[in-house]
Amino acid sequence: MESMILSALSSLVMGLSALTIEGVVMMAVGCMLLWLGIQKGYEPLLLLPIGFGAVMVNIPMSGVMEEHGLLRFFYDFGVITEVFPCLIFIGIGAMTDFTPLLENPKILLLGAAGQFGIFITLLVALGLGFNLLDAATIGIIGACDGPTSIYVASKYAPHLLGAVSVAAYSYMSLVPLLQPPIMKLLTTEKERKIRMPYPKKSVSKSLKILFPIGVTILTCLIAPMGTPLMGMLMLGNLMKESGVVSRLTGAAENEIPNIVTLLLGLSIGATMEGAAFLKAQTLIILALGLGAICLDTVTGVLFGKIMCVLSGGKINPLLGAAGISAYPMAARVVMTEGRRYDRNNWLLMHAMGANTGGQIGSIMAAAIMLSVLKGMGLG
C-alpha cells in the first residue's frame, strides 16, 4: 500500500523531474512572446497563441506533439497540408482594398522592387551553407508576409517552421522601427517632402471585380505553384468586391481567419520544442530574416528613387518602403515618415497602393521560387 502511494506521488512530480534546461529556456521564450503580445501589443493575435503553444510543448510528458496529441493534430491537419496559410489568405483578400493600386497601376512596380531582398538573402543563406530549400525558405521571411513564409516553410523546410514563423511575425511587428532609419538614410529631405496629388479618375465596380479574376489567371499561368496562395487571396477579394456573397465575405473577414489564426499560432508554437529550436541555426535564421526585411526596404526605396527621377520628381521615393507585404503597417510607416517632414504631406493612399502591390509581389516571388525549385526537380 505504502509503495503504491509513493509511486502515485512520484508520478505527480514526474513532469517536474523531467524538466530540461532547454525546456525551461523555451518556456521562458514562450512567456516572452506572450509578454510582447499582451503588454507591448506586438501582433497579439499571433504571438499570444504562438507563445502559449511554445509553453505547452515544452512541458515534459505533456504529449501534445506526440502522435494523437492535441497540437500534433492541429499541426498535421493545417500546417503540413498547407491549408492554414491558404485560408488566412481568403481573409486577407476580403479585407484588402486594391482601389489605390488600380488608380495608379505603375505603383505595382514598387511592390515588385520590394521583394529583391528575398533573393539576396537566399544567396547569403546559400553562402552560409544552408541547402537550397532551406535557403529559399529563409529568404521568404523577407516577403514580410507571415502566411507566405509559413506556406513555403511547411512545403520545403518544416524543421525551420518555428524559427521562420517567429522571425516573420516578430519583424513584421517591428516594421515601424526597422524601416524609418533606412528610409531616412537613403532619401534627401527634399525627396521626402514630395507631395503627390490623388488621381481624379475613379475605379469602376466592373474593374474591381475583373481585377482579382485577371490577376489570378495571369500570375498563376506564369508561376502555377503560387495558385493556392494567389487564388485564395483573390477569391477573398472577389467575394468582397462582387458584393453578392456578403455572408461568405463576413465569414472570410471574421470567423475563418479568427479560427485559423488561433490554430495556426498554436501549431507554430508547438514546433518550438527546446531541443529542436535552441540551436545556433535558429539565431542565424533570425539574423538573416532581419537582413532580408531591411534589404527589401533598401531595394524598394532605391527603386522609388529611380521612379522619382523618371517621373520628373513626381513620385515620393518613400513609397518604395511600402512595397513590402506588411499590410497596412508599411503604408502607415510611409505616411508617418512623410508627415514627419511636412505636416501636410498625405501619402497614405499612394502608400496603400504600393503596399497592396507588395502583397501581390510577395506571393509572386514565393510562387516563382517554388516553380523554379520544382523545375530543378526539388519541389
Partner: protein, 71 residues
Amino acid sequence: MATSIEAPMPGKVWELTVQEGQTVKEGDVVVVLEAMKMENAIESPVAGVVQKVNFKKGDAVDEGAVLLVIG
C-alpha cells in the same frame, strides 16, 4: 482672411472635434478623417474661429472637399 481646410484624401468624416464659432489654435486637430481603415487627424494650419463646418460625422468626402472654414 478665411482659410479653407480641404480633405487631403478621399475618406469618411470619423470625428469632428470642433464646431462653428469655436476658437482654434494653429495645430489643433479639427477633423479626423477615416481612410483605408486608418484614422487621420487633420490639424488647423492657422489660429482663428471656425466659421463654417460643411460635413457631419459619417459623411463621405472626396479629396479636395472643403471640410471647414476658419477665419
